[in-house]
Subunit: 477 residues, 2 copies
């Protein structure tokens, strides 16, 4: 594995790293041809691109440990990558970094129905976890929009949620343990298939740490019994503020739908044109879904419709069949794709207290007029997780910058409203310089000091999460 | 606040600390008379006692910041204390430490029903949080047995659970944010009344860290709507193993009771003699409670009773009235007191995978015969959180030591079974030396390195959580 000094002398640093990685990994697991690494030069935040030094595709925890040891010794930064679906640039490489792609690590390692957990490799896709257990009536609850493609490792890195997290919680609430490789190649076990843990709760710390503390290679996930049934109701309102108030009233009334999804007029129009879901022509639309037995569903939807009627809906349509339910959801699930038809877009991700919804929606509308850029709002309203989509034209000089300014203003508004810069997409590179609006210098310092513990040389997923200036200083120190 | 050098020269270190604390706190907030500090020399793990250097009773975050700054400058260890109900010695002082009692910090600071949270000072008792919001139909879910007395600050320190955490989760699942004072007196805000948080999830780290990372002075807590109704069913079985199997089958079937409580024969006998709850004379008893509307309750209990019948119960009694429900719960809630009638006892706290219940109960029975000490088992079976009570005689030389050995064997068995050293009581002093059975040296090192970040001098809640040898070395370093 080590190379004699004479060999090193004639090779570039890049070549040394590649040769050493080839020495510890199977044939074909190291990609360095610039033509082949191109597929890894960006994630779903496509406005930013950078080819990496190399890409490695390990197949086991041992291989991850071996390659990290090499990178650690060579002081080469490492960027973990699940499926590359990050909307915040969480898997964006730097030119001097090695991408550790987990796509080959997609095995189910253990299924335990009696104790309701499944253990998988971290490269397995979110939906295929459910597929592995659904024959026995179980499912894995977190359901990001990208669930067909996104990897469990990425879900853990970003603490992802989804439409149903109002009832089932985000990834952290469904994660029991991880196997994680530290930057120096040592392997730690955190949590496991039991309640709680002695000592400090490092699992909570690792979940949502955006791949900056270690590379999670295996995860123990809580699986749940599928509910007997589910039924959505579609509501249309003449103003976004009234729809926001209706959400707030439903949450306050104590019924717990599994999902309360919100779409405003620009989204409704784009979606109708694209997916023909039969949505009404109105200012704001809610999809509220409840689960349980038929009796439970009837009871909960009864109360929800009663609340909705107090807000004069222009439409109130309870699904009467499985087909109708599918059509209602089809529209929502197509919304991001449909918005893409309107132009390039940037998808934001901020959270606010549910009661602040009407105010925040009004202010976003005002800002949209000020910046001259259209915004569509489609989001998880029940838990105040907003996803404003700003439409811009990537080919028009200055439009991306304007869009970014607008986005930053919206996220600052979320913080002002008592909310947070990110709900489920993470900070990545997108929001690193906004962190100072959420956190005091003391707050940031202690977060960075925690990173020092796990990754003293700041090699893991560099230049993300913290303000660029701050992480550069830290790395140089 | 600072004292001139001549003054310092004639005073002992103890006197200097007391005078400086008096200078920054209101009259009466510093207790140092040995007669008065006696009340603080132990917590609910009464086998261990030690008078502290002094006790301070701050009334605000600012006062906590001021007094910690003094202790930090004087290098005096600090022991945070909620209500002193720790069963693991979590609030036990050392002779050179200052106890920071939070009893005066019991205010409700904010109630927000629309966003379903309440913000309180950390000294407020668990039950009085619910009392502050129940008129509007809300409650705070975590319900430790000590909920009448125990403080929210202690609940956060130990990540406490309770009988109903099977459905509602432990403290972490109901905690949204904290205000915390670091050892150097700086104040940090972590989390808040919104979903998730940008950057690393320090809230998960702080919750369960046993007061070793900072002193939590205020907490934002999730409040929930009270369910329409609740009903327990009492089941008696002829063997603990069969009862354990029944628990496992109920959990696997996917019904989610709010509580599944377990009592074995020694506990049933002691409780009957004490509380006259009308429990059957059998080997093992389960109390399974479900919540919801009448229809939901009927449906769930129907399925649960059907599962129970497959295990030939000697008794299967569904509560038919509020009085009967209260009587069923009265027995369970009196169990710890009732066991106290049988002698001194040590209450353990370990978790295991639910499917391991029958095996672990059998092995505990075997060990009980080997050690010649009686054990009563009364615990939260649904989530595998065991509370074996070992009966011993404090006046019999060697009996406490024998009891401790027996306890250690049980906890090691929990770890072997795939479980964990502690469910909700924490490590404290009780289990610090057992941590090596749960964690590898690398696991422990990284936990201690995290403590280094928050408390570099290891002054906060000393000599706990980590093996004594390890934390002594760390403090000396």
């Amino acid at each position: 594995m080590d190379m004699p000094a004479p060999d090193r002398a004639v090779l570039s640093k890049r070549d040394v790293v590649i040769r050493r990685l080839q020495a510890v990994l199977p044939r074909g697991a190291v990609i360095h041809d610039p033509f082949e690494t191109r597929a890894y030069e960006c994630d779903a935040l496509t406005a930013y691109r950078c080819p990496p030094l190399a890409v490695v595709l390990p197949a086991s925890t041992d291989e991850v440990a071996a390659l990290l040891k090499v990178c650690h010794e060579e002081r080469v930064p490492v960027v973990p990558r699940g499926a590359g679906t990050s909307l915040a640039g969480g898997a964006l490489p730097t030119a001097d970094s090695v991408i550790v792609g987990l796509a080959r690590m997609n095995e189910v390692l253990e299924v335990d129905y009696a104790n309701r957990y499944v253990r998988v490799q971290a490269g397995r896709t979110n939906l295929s976890v459910t597929e592995a257990v659904e024959a026995e009536g179980f499912f894995f609850a977190p359901d990001p929009s990208s669930q067909l493609a996104c990897a469990i490792g990425g879900n853990i890195a970003m603490n992802s949620g989804g439409a149903h997290c109002l009832k089932y919680g985000v990834t952290m609430n469904n994660l029991m343990g991880v196997t994680m490789v530290l930057m120096d190649g040592s392997v730690v076990e955190i949590g496991g298939p039991h309640l709680d843990a002695a000592g400090y709760d490092l699992l909570g710390l690792v979940c949502g740490s955006e791949g900056q503390l270690g590379i999670v290679t295996e995860a123990t996930l809580r699986i749940l019994h599928k509910p007997e049934g589910a039924r959505p109701v579609l509501m249309g309102f003449n103003s976004s503020e009234v729809a926001g108030q209706c959400v707030s009233d439903i949450v306050r009334a104590g019924v717990l739908p599994v999902a309360i999804e919100f779409m405003d007029r620009p989204c409704i129009h784009a979606t109708e044109a694209f997916a023909h879901a039969g949505y009404p022509d109105c200012e704001a639309l809610l999809i509220v879904e409840v689960e349980g037995s038929e009796a439970e569903i009837d009871e909960q939807l009864g109360l929800i419709c009663q609340i909705a009627r107090r807000h004069d809906p222009v439409e109130l349509r309870e699904s009467a069949s499985a087909e109708e339910s599918a059509r209602i959801w089809l529209g929502r699930k197509s919304a991001f794709g449909a918005m893409g038809q309107m132009g390039d877009y940037m998808c934001l991700d901020g959270t606010i207290p549910v009661s602040a919804l009407p105010m925040v929606l009004r202010r976003i509308g005002e800002m949209s007029r000020k910046f001259g850029l259209q915004v569509g709002n489609v989001f998880h309203a029940g838990d105040g997780n907003m996803h404003p989509l700003i439409i811009y034209d990537a080919n028009k000089p200055g439009d991306l910058e304007l869009c970014e300014q607008f986005g930053a203003e919206i996220l600052k508004l979320c913080v002002e409203a008592g909310g947070c810069l990110t709900g489920e997409h993470g900070v990545g590179i997108e929001k690193r310089d906004l962190m100072v609006h959420q956190f005091s210098p003391a707050d940031l310092e202690i977060q960075m000091a925690v990173k020092d513990v796990f990754d003293p040389d700041w090699l893991l997923n560099p230049a993300k999460v913290f303000p660029l200036e701050a992480s550069r200083k830290r790395r140089a120190a």
